[in-house]
């Protein structure tokens, strides 16, 4: 903190904000290792990197949530100390959080009031919320409780809260990860407008197409260090990804030639009431997944994905046995273990707490889903050695990186735990595999590994159902794609005969997608 790093010669005018020689240690681990970053007014600056590259740490340092171990932050050339978020806000730094930092049971206005000056009265605040709403098209009802709002509306609160402080720098952490393509489009308009007003934006995203479209400069982090800077408009998504991971991301190879086999997973008008106040009812879902193919279910979170997964895995029983058919046999009334005995495997969305018990070791977690199908118990007693062997097999086959021979599941990074969970199911050679959000929050290399494993499994004759919000992923691996919206499933269409645009419209609830033209299957989605 005390010694001032030698300042690199600035190129051009003094940057609005600069971070020089930033080091942040957590124990022995260096999350940031000598990072230099300059942000200029009127630019959208991308911060790229895989999970664990140090993006969030750097962002938290800029927002005053963490103090750097070494290095300085400057504002218009002067060294500043960002001891807490209040100090950062006072300097004009605003933040839009990925997992919104909103209190669900407070109203919109109350959530905004939390960071506004004490002197601002309730009525004035509402007037200013309305003002920002009209200026930027961010309309909000200040008296609604947050729990009743959609992800897009919640993000509007975050952005409004940020703009009310008239920030000169706005940090956005994965802002489009929960938005529909249409909502993302609205967001981009707002961001471009903020840039034109002369504000600086630091944009963190995994979605390279967005970065190439919005950002004029990019800083790339890997392993806590800056490994490159570029103009993303001059790069391809592929070259950006290569810079992020430091290696060429292998393109997944679809299984070739295998004609779809017999139907293995069939839904016959699956109908389920909503499981709770926040749940979504399923309305007469009909779908056939044949051996050898991957079918993708697209949709925005909260449109029945969790309920569909539960109905397939047996966590929720169907009202009639015939609504879910596995390999020709009715399975709708079978429990989870019985379905696994029929040769099905399941990977839920939540890694910690649903897919794995975070405090248990990997071998114990192997027992959780394989106890009945891998001979891990005898006379009701567990066979610890066999479980350890199984866990080691998965770890070796799926290149799971971890500390220690058999660590607790919760200590693994998201990508490595996901590889373990997918591997645990795939090594059982399931005839039917259902995966919900297989690469959510997983870095590019691990995601490519998982997708390839799914393709290979289908290539060996299994029926694979992938539920995902990530359209790029679905178009990469799925043979056919159906859209789940508000508990209703559209017809599964071959991926080659549809486009991101029309799938995006269906995800947003449009009933009549425009006819897909053959040329728009690549590139970012334009919903309007």
């Amino acid at each position: 903190m005390t010694d001032i790093a030698p300042r690199p010669q600035p190129e051009g005018p003094t940057p609005l904000f600069g971070a020089y020689g930033i080091v942040k240690r957590f124990g022995d681990f260096k999350a940031n290792d000598g990072i230099d970053l300059e942000i200029r007014a009127g630019e959208i600056h991308a911060l790229l990197g895989e999970n664990g590259a140090g993006k969030s740490t750097l962002m938290k340092i800029l927002y005053g949530l963490l103090e750097p171990t070494e290095g300085v932050v400057t504002h218009r050339g002067d060294i500043v100390r960002l001891g807490n978020p209040e100090a950062a806000r006072a300097l004009g730094i605003g933040m839009v959080f990925q997992h919104f930092s909103l209190c669900e049971n407070l109203t919109v206005a109350e959530n905004i009031a939390l960071v506004m000056p004490k002197s601002l009265s309730g009525r004035d605040l509402k007037a200013r919320i309305a003002e920002v709403g009209t200026t930027y098209g961010l309309h909000l009802d200040p008296d609604r409780p947050v729990w009743s709002l959609s992800a897009g509306e919640r993000q509007r609160i975050e952005i409004t809260r940020c703009l009310l402080q008239d920030p000169s720098l706005v940090i956005l952490d994965e802002p489009t990860s929960v938005l529909t393509p249409g909502e993302a489009e609205l967001l981009f308009t707002v961001l471009e407008r903020l840039r034109d007003e002369g504000r600086a934006l630091l944009y963190i995203s995994h979605r390279l197409d967005e970065v190439r479209r919005l950002c004029s400069r990019a800083t790339i982090l890997r392993g806590g260090k800056v490994v490159g800077a570029c103009d993303p408009r001059q790069e391809s998504a592929r070259s950006l990804a290569a810079m992020m991971v430091g290696a060429q991301v292998g393109e997944v190879k679809p299984a070739t030639g295998a004609a779809p086999g017999r139907p293995r997973l069939v839904l016959n008008g699956l109908t389920l009431p909503a499981p709770g106040l926040h749940g979504t009812a399923l309305h007469a879902l009909t779908l056939t997944v044949s051996g050898g193919e991957i079918v993708g279910i697209a949709g925005i979170a909260g449109n029945g994905q969790a309920e569909l997964f539960d109905a397939l895995s047996g966590e929720a029983l169907a009202p009639q046995a015939g609504m879910v058919v596995f390999d020709g046999g009715d399975a709708g009334r079978l429990g989870i273990t019985a379905r696994r005995r029929r040769g099905a495997g399941f990977v839920p969305e939540e890694r910690n707490g649903h897919g794995a018990a975070p405090t248990l070791s990997l071998s114990d977690n192997a027992i959780l889903s394989r106890h009945a199908t891998a001979g891990l118990s005898r006379f009701g007693f567990l066979r610890g050695a066999a479980a350890k062997r199984l866990a080691q097999t998965v770890i070796a086959a799926f290149d799971v990186r971890k500390a220690g021979p058999d660590p607790a599941a919760g200590t693994l990074s998201g990508g490595n735990l996901q590889k373990f969970l997918v591997g645990r199911e795939i090594l059982a050679e399931p005839g039917i595999l259902v995966v919900n959000q297989p690469t959510w929050g997983v870095d590019a290399l691990a995601a490519a590994h998982i997708r390839q494993a799914l393709l290979d499994l289908a290539g060996r004759g299994a029926a694979v159902l992938v539920i995902s919000q990530d359209l790029d992923e679905l178009f990469e691996i799925a043979g056919r794609i159906a859209v789940l919206h508000d508990g209703t499933l559209s017809k599964a269409i071959p991926a080659g005969e549809t486009s991101r645009e029309s799938v995006g419209l269906l995800m947003g609830g449009s009933q009549t997608p425009p006819p897909a033209s053959a040329t728009v299957t690549a590139g970012p989605a334009h919903a309007h």
């Binding site: 930092s101 209190c103 109350e110 939390l114 106040l277």
Partner: protein
Amino acid sequence: MSLDVMEMVLVTIIAAATPLMIAALGELVAERAGVLNLGVEGMMVLGAATGFAVAVETGSTLTGAIAGAGAGVALAALFGILTVVLSANQVASGLAMTILGLGLSGLVGASYVGLKRDPAPHLDVPGLTGLPGIGRLVFGQDGFVYFGLFLVAAVWWFLWRTRAGLVLRAIGDDHTATHALGLKVRKVRFLAVLFGGACAGLAGAYLSLAYTPFWAPAMTAGRGWIALALVVFASWRPLRVLAGALLFGGATVLQLHAQAAGIGLPGQALSALPYLATILALVLLSLGKRQGGSLAPAALGRVFTPHR
């Protein structure tokens, strides 16, 4: 029933309701900040013993009441260090505080068992307190009652009309989000716990200084637990605490009268009424028409460990 008998019954109901109300208001603030303090009973009983002992030594009821609140704060500070600073389990720590408080109070009060004091003085407004029917009810209570009513209004105003109250409610709803905004989660929670302890200690002091002006071991007799139930019954709203305290206090008094009148219902069944009422309230609340969100502070009972 004559007007004066009615007034007598109401006065006893208010007397029974006051300690419940004061202790519940303190616990309500702590729970609104996200901390579940199951040590209310222990803080109350320690406040009763300390309050009585100090009042006997100094001869001042007010000093005794302040000392009682201070004893509650001291025990609450220990609870706060365990749960807020060291992130210990709130349920286990709270139960430990209750057991510790019962033990400590026996120690503090050992040499005061059997002593008697005059009860806390009641208000006496010439011309008004003597009014038939309502005089004693409105103008003849002791200071604790008036302070308790003031506290209801003050807590309501704090929670719903001040920014500090908004911050406290926000922290009780989501400590991760509020921490990310730079709000001082641990500081606010610690202060809320201290306030809860002060209220519990004061409620205990009311028992030994005004309600039954002597000290007997374990004299709180489960009122701390009733206060905890009362917070839930009131769905974490101060004004409903007032109504609930009168209802719960009424059940206690009713039980005594029913026994005196020889009504066949066993007293134990009537003693259970507050808890049955709480269960009923919980059922009614969840059957309510709300489509989402939660009535309880969403972060209630969850420990917060900042990543720093």
